[in-house]
C-alpha cells in the first residue's frame, strides 16, 4: 500500500494484468511513442499524458502496439482481436475522437453477442480521457459517457479516484464484454493510498462515499470529489448528505440510488456531461418512476449548459459544475416547501 496517482494506479493495473495474462495487449496512438522517429527512441511518451509509460519497455513490441492516427482501423482491430482470442486494451486518447470510430464500437463490438445469438465474446477495454477543466476546448473536453451508456452491449466505467481506477480497470480487463473506461484528464495527478496488489471492484455496485439523512447526491467521475467537498461543508451547517458514486453508468446500481433516495427524500444529481439525455436525466427518470412517493422536493440537476465546452478559463469555470453549485442545489432542495399541497 502506498500513495499513488490516478495515472500510476492505471499504469499499475495495466502492468499487473499484462503480467498475469499474455493475451492482454495494448494499442493506441503514441502509447509508446517515438516509433520511426529520427532518434530511434521508443517509449518516448507512454501515451500523450504518460499513462502507459514503461509498458512498451517491459512487454515489448508483441504486446504494446503504437498505431497510426487512424482510430477507425485500430479500434476496429481491437474489436476483431477481442473476438478472436486476444484481450486488447485500446487507448482512444481523447474520448471526443470516438467520432472517428463509433461504428466499430456501436455497431460491431456492442452488437456481436446479441446479433450472433449469444455466441460471441468480445473482451475489449477502450480507455479514453474525458472531461473539461484543462482548457482543451470543444473537441477535447467532452464527457461523452451518456453516449456509450445509451448503447446496449457496452459497459461504461467512470472511476472517481486512484483506488477506484485500479480496481475498476482490472475488473474491466477481466470482463468478457466490451468496456468503455473513461478517465478524467484533470485527475491524473490526484493521489491516494492504493494497494500494491491487484484487486477488483465489481461493476454495478455504487459506492456510498458519504452517508447522510437529508439529501442524496448522485455524482459521476470527478464530480464525486466535488460532491464530497460540498457534503462536508454542508455537514458543518447541519445538512447531512449521502453521496453516491455509481462507478459504472452501465450497469447502473439503481437499487442503491433508490434506497438512498427513499431514506433522504431529496435528490441532487451532478453530471458534467451535456445536460440533454445525460446521466442526470436518466437517474431523475429512474427516481421519479420508482420512488416518486418518497420525494419531498423536486429533483435538482447540477449540470453544464447545453453548449460545447468553451476554451477561455473564465468560461470553462462557468461551464463546469463545482462544489459551490452543488452546495447551493442542496440548500435549495432543503428549503423547498410543498406550498401547493399545503394550500
Amino acid at each position: 500500500m502506498s500513495k499513488k496517482s490516478f495515472r500510476q494506479a492505471i499504469n499499475e493495473a495495466l502492468r499487473q494484468e499484462m503480467q498475469r495474462d499474455p493475451r492482454i495487449i495494448l494499442m493506441g496512438e503514441d502509447i509508446a511513442g517515438g516509433q520511426g522517429g529520427s532518434a530511434g527512441v521508443v517509449d518516448a511518451w507512454g501515451g500523450v499524458l504518460g499513462v502507459t509509460k514503461g509498458l512498451y519497455t517491459e512487454f515489448g513490441p508483441d504486446r504494446v502496439f503504437d498505431t497510426p492516427i487512424s482510430e477507425a482501423s485500430y479500434i476496429g482491430a481491437a474489436v476483431g482481436a477481442a473476438a478472436t482470442g486476444l484481450r486488447p486494451v485500446a487507448e482512444l486518447m481523447f474520448v471526443d475522437f470516438v467520432g472517428c470510430c463509433l461504428d466499430q464500437i456501436m455497431n460491431q463490438a456492442a452488437k456481436f453477442r446479441y446479433m450472433f445469438g449469444g455466441k460471441a465474446r468480445t473482451p475489449l477495454v477502450i480507455r479514453a480521457m474525458y472531461g473539461a477543466g484543462f482548457n482543451a476546448a470543444a473537441q477535447h473536453s467532452q464527457a461523452l459517457y451518456p453516449l456509450f451508456t445509451h448503447i446496449p452491449g457496452l459497459k461504461v466505467v467512470i472511476p472517481s479516484s486512484p483506488y477506484e481506477a485500479k480496481g475498476l480497470l482490472i475488473e474491466a480487463i477481466r470482463d468478457d464484454d466490451p468496456v468503455i473506461f473513461l478517465e478524467n484528464k484533470v485527475m491524473y495527478d490526484d493521489e491516494e493510498e492504493v494497494p500494491d496488489e491487484p484487486y477488483t471492484i465489481p461493476f454495478g455496485e455504487a459506492n456510498l462515499t458519504r452517508e447522510g439523512d437529508d439529501v442524496t447526491i448522485v455524482a459521476f467521475g470527478r464530480m464525486v470529489n466535488f460532491a464530497n467537498e460540498a457534503a462536508d461543508r454542508l455537514e458543518k451547517d447541519g445538512i447531512s448528505c449521502s453521496v453516491i458514486d455509481p462507478r459504472t453508468t452501465s450497469p447502473l446500481d439503481s437499487a442503491t440510488i433508490l434506497e438512498c433516495v427513499e431514506d433522504t427524500g431529496r435528490l441532487v444529481i451532478v453530471d458534467e456531461s451535456s445536460p440533454r439525455c445525460n446521466m442526470a436525466t436518466d437517474v431523475a427518470a429512474l427516481v421519479v418512476e420508482e420512488a416518486f412517493e418518497s420525494l419531498k422536493a423536486p429533483i435538482r440537476r447540477v449540470v453544464p449548459p447545453h453548449t460545447p465546452v468553451p476554451f477561455a478559463t473564465v468560461l470553462e469555470k462557468l461551464y463546469l459544475p463545482d462544489a459551490a453549485r452543488i452546495e447551493s442545489a442542496v440548500r435549495s432542495v432543503m428549503a423547498y416547501k410543498k406550498t401547493k399541497q399545503d394550500a
Binding site: R23, I25, D62, R63, F65, T67, P68, S70, A72, S73, Y74, I75, G76, A77, A78, V79, G80, A81, A82, A83, T84, G85, L86, P88, D103, Q104, N107, Q108, K111, F112, R113, Y114, M115, F116, G117, G118, K119, A120, R121, P152, G153, K155, D175, D176, D177, G204, P251
Partner: protein, 321 residues
Amino acid sequence: MQIAHNILLRSYRSMRTIRDFEERLHVEFATGEIPGFVHLYCGEEASGVGVCAHLTDTDTIASTHRGHGHCIAKGVGVEGMMAEIYGRKTGVCHGKGGSMHIADLSLGMLGANGIVGGGPPLICGAALSHKVLKDGGVAVAFYGDGASNEGTTLESLNLAMVWQLPAVFVCEDNGYGEATGASYACAGTQKARAAGFGMPYFECDGTDFFAVHEAAGQAIAHARAGNGPVMLHVHLARWYGHFEGDAMTYRINGEVARERAEHDCLKNFRQRVTEVSLLDPSALDEIDASVKDEIEAAVKAAKSAPLPEPADLEADVYVSY
C-alpha cells in the same frame, strides 16, 4: 496448379449449395414469408469458395451484408442459416441476427456485416490475433467495390501494412455499390490503391473458380508466410439486385442474362473438369441432387422451426451484467 479431387468436389458442392440456397431464397422471399431483407450472392460463388478453399477453421474471415456465400464457403451449415433467415429460434444466431449477421466464430466466420466497410478493421484485429498467438492463421476481409471507398477500408490497408499483418483484403468488385456503378464511385483503381500502400496486389476473374483458386492461393500463401498483407481484386457480376425487390432499373436489359449465359461459374467449372476428365459428370450430378435435397430440407425445417420466445428478447446482450 493441380487441385486435389476432394478439394474440387468440396468446392463444387459449396458453389452449388450457395447457388441453390440463394435461388431458393429469391423464390421464398417473394412469398413474403421471410422477414427483413436479403442480399443475394448468386453469380459470385467462385470468389468465396475459391478463396476459402485455402482456409481452415483456424483462419478467420469477415464478410459483408452479401454474406450467405462466404458463410457457406467457410463451412456454416445451411440448416442453421436458413432457420436464421426465417427468424427462427433454431437459427445459427437464434433468430436475433438475421441474414446480415450470420456468424460462427468457432469456424472463424466473424460475421456477415450490415455496415459497409465494417469488416476490414475487424480483420486487422483477427490477423493481429493470429500473429500474436502464433497460430499460423490468416485473416481474410471480403469487401465490395462500394466498401473500397470507406475510410475504414483504406485505414485498414494502411494499418495492416504498418503492422505487417497476415491479412488478405479480398475486394469483390461486382460493379455496383447498391444502385451506383463502381465506374462512378471508385476513383482510380484498386490496383493503384494497393500500390499506394505498398501492398502486393493480385487480381482474377471471379466467375472462374480456377482463376480465383490460383490467385487466392498465391495471395494467401504470401500472407501466411509472414510477408505481410495482400490485396486480391476479384472481378465479378451480381445477378440479382442490391437486395431482393430491387428492380435494377439502373442496369441495361440483358446485362444479367448475358452474365448468366456466359459467366456462370458452375457451368464453367463443370465444363473445365469434365472436358479433361478430372471429374466424372455423374459425380457432379450426384452433388447437384444431394444439395437440392439439402436445401429443400433446410427450408422445410426452417418453416416449421419454433419462433424465438419473449424471454429471448433480453438474453445475450452481455456475457454478464
